[in-house]
């Protein structure tokens, strides 16, 4: 979905066609705002709670504990190989909820739009969100739109918050890794980050790499059904596998050692990383998870991941150790060891 969709194909564009671009009034709470809701958001997200158009959605909850999460999305470009900011906004929050073991149920969607943002692009973003929400089985039940003056935003920012329900017995968290635990990854790493990089202005390169953006809660469910002995789940988004494992090592006060030979990386991502001087362990993912499980649960967890459509390339990555607490180490393919430190900021392409 590299190109914004054709506005002419949008289902209900008539009332919006007077304004091919967002104007300040679309965030003003008046007639223009109402038209945006009526002709764009409602048809896309259609559900009972939203259609009441109250100031807040009123919902029935199944029993269990509540998991609650929020995330904001500012990705550029808005459309990239394998998805859009809309897909990310839904799956990002769905996955954050899933990493506590929860089943995601409801999302809110807050849009901050820049004056002049093409209506067709907004339609494309909303369409992506609707499709992602349907695929993930969550409902977008409340929302808000604000418009900022031209030059004060970057087209379209989205915040989603969401909640889900988790059973009383599930205890998963980044501080719960224990020495002896096994570290698993659900598939190839670095796909999302390299897909974005391949289309970022000034850095374009030809590649078939697509974002791995996807909802992970059904895989989490499959893992938890296979074994209750799951200690940590994490989706390694910004900063990649390296940052997530460093955080877990620090919070659990344990060491983590991974074997780089077991790190799944597609040849295309590896080649692009080599070319640009980047390390795939630091590159972002949007449809992968790290699972840290008790040693006797590793085989069951791996089998559950590999049986899931998104986990075919799942692998055992390494183990948690009592030595060197707070540190992430890697055994290199030639048999050396290296430290994988936390990055200071963003990973920067190397000069040569």
């Amino acid at each position: 979905m590299a190109d914004p969709p054709d506005f002419n194909n949008w289902t209900c564009p008539l009332a919006l066609r007077d304004y091919p671009n967002i104007v300040i009034g679309h965030g003003g709470g008046g007639k223009l705002s109402a038209e945006l809701v009526e002709h764009l958001f409602l048809p896309a997200f259609r559900n009972e709670a939203l259609e009441n158009l109250g100031d807040s959605a009123v919902l029935h909850l199944p029993p269990g504990r509540l998991a609650f999460s929020t995330d904001s999305f500012v990705v550029r470009p808005l459309f990239f190989p394998g998805g859009s900011i809309g897909d990310l906004a839904v799956n990002g929050t769905v996955n954050d909820l899933a990493m506590s073991g929860a089943t995601p149920l409801y999302l809110s969607a807050g849009f901050i739009l820049e004056e002049g943002f093409p209506m067709a692009s907004l339609a494309g973003v909303v369409e992506g969100m609707a499709r992602a929400a349907q695929a993930a089985g969550v409902r977008i039940v409340t929302g808000d739109t604000k418009v900022v003056e031209r030059g004060h935003g970057d087209g379209c920012y989205i915040n989603t918050s969401g909640f889900g329900i988790l059973p009383g017995h599930v205890r998963i968290g980044p501080a719960m890794a224990q020495p002896g635990d096994v570290v698993l990854v659900s598939g190839t790493v670095g796909d999302h980050g390299m897909a974005i990089m391949s289309v970022r202005e000034g850095l374009e390169f030809d590649t078939l790499i697509e974002s791995d953006c996807a909802p992970l809660h059904t895989m989490v469910r499959a893992i938890l059904d296979a074994t209750p002995r799951v200690h940590v789940l994490r989706d390694p988004t910004r900063g990649g596998v390296a940052s997530s494992l460093n955080e877990i090592a620090a919070k659990s006060n344990a060491g983590i050692v991974i074997d780089e030979r077991n790190l799944p990386v597609t040849p295309a991502v590896q080649a692009a990383c080599d070319l640009l001087g980047l390390d795939p362990v630091y590159v972002a993912n949007e449809g992968k998870l790290l699972a840290i499980v008790a040693p006797e649960a590793a085989d069951a967890a791996l089998a559950a991941m590999q049986a899931h459509p998104l986990g075919r390339n799942a692998a055992i990555l390494g183990e948690v150790t009592a030595q060197r607490p707070g540190m992430l180490l890697a055994r290199t393919p030639i048999g050396g060891t290296r430290v994988i430190p936390m990055q200071i900021g963003e990973q920067l392409p190397r000069i040569c």
Partner: protein, 369 residues
Amino acid sequence: MKYLSEFRDGEIARRIAGEIHRITTRPWAIMEVCGGQTHSIIRNGTDQLLPREVELIHGPGCPVCVTPLEVIDKALAIAARPGVIFCSFGDMLRVPGSEKDLFRVKSEGGDVRVVYSPLDAVNLARANPSKQVVFFGIGFETTAPANAMSVHVAKREGLKNFSILVSHVLVPPAIEAIMTSPANRVQAFLAAGHVCSVMGYWQYLPLARRFRVPIVVTGFEPLDIFEGIRRAVQQLENGEASVDNAYTRVVTLEGNQPAQKILAEVFEPTDRAWRGIGVIPQSGWKLNAAYSGFDAEVRFAVSAIGARESSLCHSGEVLQGAMKPNQCPAFGNECTPRKPLGATMVSSEGACAAYYNYGRFAETVEGNG
């Protein structure tokens, strides 16, 4: 990736490492010149497989590390100007100048952009005729041909809004400076494969003869580096001192002729300051008279900017192999990757940053027996 994974094969690596163990009878200090090689060594833990007798000294071949403070300050001054699009390779953005770095300039409103090629900067100049587009042209002989080409294209097209801030440095004069330094400990060099792919290795023949020092042209993958070290140790053990090419799949004696032609057309040799080391005669390139109109230093009148390096920073001694990073009093105290005093702590391939990260590991290994 085809033609790369073969050179990362663990089993062959261990075999060559075993051969190095077999032939080594006493201590040797070998300098890998290039930052890319340092990066590969740290990234793969190559040095951990070597005999204790073989010491690798990380050389001054990281362009980020040796670009002088005053050039960074000039870049910051130009990048802060309204109407300027300042283009740079990514890892220069975090290199500290006297007061700030390019990230800070960007946050304060400067239009700073990361590009992969100076020709992308030329494209930006074409697309933004009302802006002045400046490319930060640093690096060794490897990056120089593309930088030369950008200026060549700009001149051919009559682009009035493109210029380049040049601070190119050259490997052979640096080797000469190291070998004539009284504190020198280096007994053999791994020459930088990519520099030699451009320039060939004929320039190193007189250096090996004059200083009786083995020089092995070496690539960047783990097997390349093991093979370079093996050949260097072999020469040292045999009392030989010649130039050996261990990177024949890329490097020839003569090098890349079209690249050398464009370099000769655009640049001329000049004395150049190296961060932490000082001025090395005829160790850099600058734009020659025919292309001086594209010199950003002249266009933006920043030639007068000077800078004094922190007296606490010993990166010069580190870069010459005279001091280990952890022997520097500032190491880990005033100077960390979070708040670096010198560029060797900034760059991922800088010797100090590498020691900082690896050193934490080494200490805890000892602590845990």
